[in-house]
């Protein structure tokens, strides 16, 4: 079974402006999620075949290009295998609450990509504040 590319993210210092840029250029429907700095992208809103994308602030370790997400069936296994064959971890396994886990890597040539596994029980461990 192959692992499909299912999502992508775009980053910037001024995501609201960037959202307008892509909406203008490609006609994408881009809407900000309430209460969080995340803009949901629908690439083909008219025909319902939308490719899921997101737009947000660039993280300190974030790439200066789009980031493709590859959905995998077992994130821990994929992470181990990726490292074994030459990948480097940029961001370790991280939870999206009640949604899934992701990690960001670079391939042996330095290209950045993320892997994703859906999991309704995903949740991060709290940190002292």
């Amino acid at each position: 079974m192959t692992s499909p590319v299912t999502h992508f993210e775009v980053y910037g210092e001024a995501p609201a402006q960037l959202a307008r840029f892509y909406a203008s250029l490609f006609g994408w429907q881009i809407e900000k999620a309430p209460g969080v700095d995340y803009w949901r992208i629908q690439t083909e809103p008219a025909n319902g075949k939308s490719f899921g994308g997101g737009l947000t602030y660039r993280a300190a370790d974030g790439p200066s290009s789009w980031l493709p997400y590859v959905t995998v069936s077992a994130l821990d296994d994929t992470l181990s295998e990726a490292q074994r064959i030459g990948a480097h971890i940029v961001r370790p396994k991280t939870a999206v609450p009640r949604t899934g886990w992701y990690a960001v890597l670079t391939d042996p040539e330095g290209n950045c990509f993320a892997i994703w596994q859906a999991d309704r029980t995903a949740f991060p461990s709290p940190e002292p504040d």
Binding site: G35, D37, Y38, P97, R98, S125, D129
Partner: protein, 380 residues
Amino acid sequence: MYYTDDSILPENMAPLIITAAPYGPEWIPGDADIPVTWDEQVQAAVDCYNAGATMLHVHVRDPATGHGSVDFDQFNYFIGRLKQAVPKMILQVGGSISFAPKSADAKAKWLDYDTRHMLTELDPKPECVTIATGTTQWDIMSWMSADDIKGTHLENNAKVQAAWAGMWVDAGPAFYLEHLKRLRKNRIQPYFVPAHVHQLELIERLIRAGVYMGPMNLAIAGYGGGTLGRNPYHWMEFLRQVPQGASATFWTSMRGLIPISAMAIVLGQHVRVGNEDNLWGPDKKRRTTVQQIEGAVRICKEFGRKLATAEEARQIMKIGVWYDSVEETLHNLGLPPTRKDGQTGFLVWETDGKKAVAKTGGDSHPMAYCMVPPTQMAAE
């Protein structure tokens, strides 16, 4: 606080203010009744209000990451929703937040404690922001038993336990002097959280120095690990030193919260309950935040004390009130005046030497009023 013979009767006590702390930033949803989405976090406030809580201790959880939020915009968004959902509740935002700048431009501008001082610029404004006056160790693990953390992610997790054991609150004068100034400028009342009587002394010095001029609302922080413990004598000694005109809440953790809350209720003080502090009932079975509020309401009613409405809670805490001088602040708090040059002895406020007629219906009982005869006798 000074107790006259009638202070201990429930009908003479100020109505009970219950503060709800339902956002448990140290827990995850599998541990307790933890709200995550915005709708869940708002609904938690509504449920607490409906159960009898009139003040809400606010932490914000970022629904996208599951962690405590450090996003200024998210705080504003959530407070805005709370103001709509529970408009009468007193919102008391937890002050141990350092906001994270989102852009390189903001990173360059936010210096030192600015990331914490931004709490004073929340919009819409909460009624209160908690403020620590004095740096303190907060080893919350030091008195937690295996039973306390049973079934939570802390159980058998030495690494996370060590992280919480190492918690401390950075609140030296370089922070609190400026923070109090900004709170006053933006008309957000400080909610003090002294961890021992010596931090209460610091607050009094801030008042006598004119740094803070306003009502004194505080939670006595009995969390162990560097703050006050569970020895009732220590609580009583602390309470003895709380100014007569202050509003005090007893605040501790886990099952110790139950007897300490009962003490607070029968002593005319106020309580804070919720999953941030405690997960258990007296039978060692889990209690949600709402169930803990219901428990405090039951004790209050059984004892015969009135539960505060939201309007009464605002009056008791003097929400929106500020004073314009040191003397006005000291007088309203029932503290003695500041010594003038050359004055000797223990100080009282100057009067014309005549006894005043006792006030009725108040909740404070200055000593002088105890000896005032009824009006008709005084006239004879």
